[in-house]
């Protein structure tokens, strides 16, 4: 067995998986609280990648950054996350909240509309050409290795910061007041409001956090894989959604697991399966179908228990 190829594929799968996991978290959190599939989520991720690009260029660009590279990268992340968080809150406020009590199909259509709106706005405002973070100039081509396992700086950065964000999110949901309010609201919205919980604010916070994670994912993807363009959110969004469903939609650990699985599956498929580099998506979605056939509620999802 060629271990060096295996480790390369694993590292690249984990990197990709981190990105998918962060996207999947936004899907699953919004679904958990509103039972809404937010199909605009992939496009928020795309906007995040662009916001990172703008932050980079406001800070002098990759060749002559006005601060040290690390600081620039941190600021790119922060800017993209805050901008996407704000965008998510705005989307909820204007596209979903007015439909809160409408039949469930209505906000779904609205989500598709927002998706097209964001894609085409990006096309209009940012143009159709591909852009590049030019990570090579920004942080160089240094790689770290442990025996056969090679990690580039952006890969390491992606995996480590994704893990950090996931731990942060887990603690937030488990321990903090807003996290508990989110869980309460997602279980029973009316009962939550009966406790005095401002449900609108909890939902807005959920969108902020989920969208900020997507923004971070956008920057990560662009740092590792380079090119960004207005349509990049479509497939990434679908993969993130797939990850959320594989993990069990509504389940936060499920989204993390699903993301990593999808990333690894895609990467291994590229390396090992026939015509993998052309048909990796075929294999990823085949995996989705397989898992859903065996476990309809996803790996860590619970079958819908009717509340008594």
């Amino acid at each position: 067995m060629n271990w060096s190829l295996f480790w390369d594929l694993t590292v690249s799968g984990l990197t990709l998986g981190s990105v998918y996991a962060l996207i999947a978290l936004g899907y699953t959190m919004v679904y958990g609280i509103l039972k809404l599939l937010n199909f605009a989520h992939g496009d928020v991720y795309m906007i995040g990648a662009f916001m990172g690009w703008f932050a980079l260029h406001w800070l002098g660009g990759p060749v002559n950054p006005s601060a040290t590279a690390w600081l620039v990268v941190v600021l790119m992340f922060l800017f993209a996350m805050v901008a996407c968080g704000g965008l998510g809150v705005a989307i909820e406020r204007f596209a979903y909240r007015p439909l809160r009590n409408a039949p469930r199909i209505a906000p779904l259509i609205s989500a598709l509309g927002v998706s097209f709106f964001l894609q085409n706005s990006a096309l209009l405002l940012f143009g159709a050409s591909f852009r590049d973070y030019d990570t090579f100039h920004l942080i160089g081509a240094k790689t770290y290795n442990y025996k056969d396992i090679f990690l580039s700086v952006p890969q390491l950065l992606t995996i480590v910061s994704a893990i950090g964000l996931m731990i942060g999110l887990t603690l937030l949901v488990a321990r903090t007041k807003i996290g508990k309010a989110m869980r309460a609201t997602s279980f029973d919205r009316e009962a939550a409001s009966m406790m005095g919980i401002d449900v609108d604010r909890v939902i807005a916070s959920t969108f902020f956090i989920g969208s900020a994670l997507a923004g971070a994912a956008g920057v990560m993807f662009a740092l590792v894989f380079g090119q960004i363009y207005h349509f990049m959110g479509f497939l990434a969004g679908l993969k993130g959604f797939t990850a959320a469903v594989i993990g069990g939609i509504g389940s936060i650990p499920g989204a993390m697991l699903g993301g990593l699985l999808v990333g690894l599956a895609e990467s291994y498929a590229t390396g090992y399966l026939p015509q993998g580099s052309t048909f990796q998506n075929l294999y990823v979605f085949a995996l989705l179908i397989l898992i859903i056939l065996i476990r309809p509620s996803g790996l860590l999802g619970k079958a819908d228990v009717k509340k008594v």
Binding site: K177, K180, A181, R183, A184, F187, D188, E190, A191, A192, S193, M194, M195, G196, I197, D198, K307, V308
Partner: protein, 242 residues
Amino acid sequence: MSVNGAASLLALVGIDTYYGQIHILEKLNLEVREGELVSLLGGNASGKSTTLKTILGLVQPRNGTVEFRGENVTGRTTSYRIKRGMAIVPENRRLFGPMTVLENLEMGAYLNRDGRGRKEDFERVYTLFPLLKERRNQLAGTLSGGEQQMVAMGRALMSHPKLLLMDEPSMGLAPILVERSFEIIQQVHQSGVAMLIVEQNANMALSIADRGYVLSTGRLVLEGPAGQLLEHEDLRKAYLGR
């Protein structure tokens, strides 16, 4: 605690509530005074739960006003009203099943700002329901019906309410638990909390109440001191909605 018959704590004045075109509550007038225990009786679909939702602001009335502690709160949010001193034990308890007993109680104190008060609140609730202290790390959804009822009451008491609303506290409980539940209600009431109890179990509810109201298809058909209502000939008729 003020003497019964003193200041008005909650007053519904001329309330009309609709769900879409359907007129649910018609010109409803209802009052709970400080420290009072009031029962709201009525059969299925008589508008009892809607009355509670209107009081809490989960449903907005088309006409009329809701006054709480001398303030018109009609247009105010639920969370504002709860901050002012309302709390509810909802129908079917509506616990947060996948959360622990402790977390459920914390949700009841969601609007309490100061951390010091909360420890006292926990102590108070644990004194009333010692079992909850033992079970505090258990998921609420795994408790028995009676235990869940305790969590629901404890959760409502965490916020130090001036007015406790109870929606069908006897529903789904074994007869012995119903009695126990009403004992606790009396105990809480004696500590100075005013209560509005919505019930189908008219005898039980009136036996501990100061006053009662009877709703039938959204209209008040009877009201008066609990003792008088218990003996009232029409109660049964009104109660059955005929």
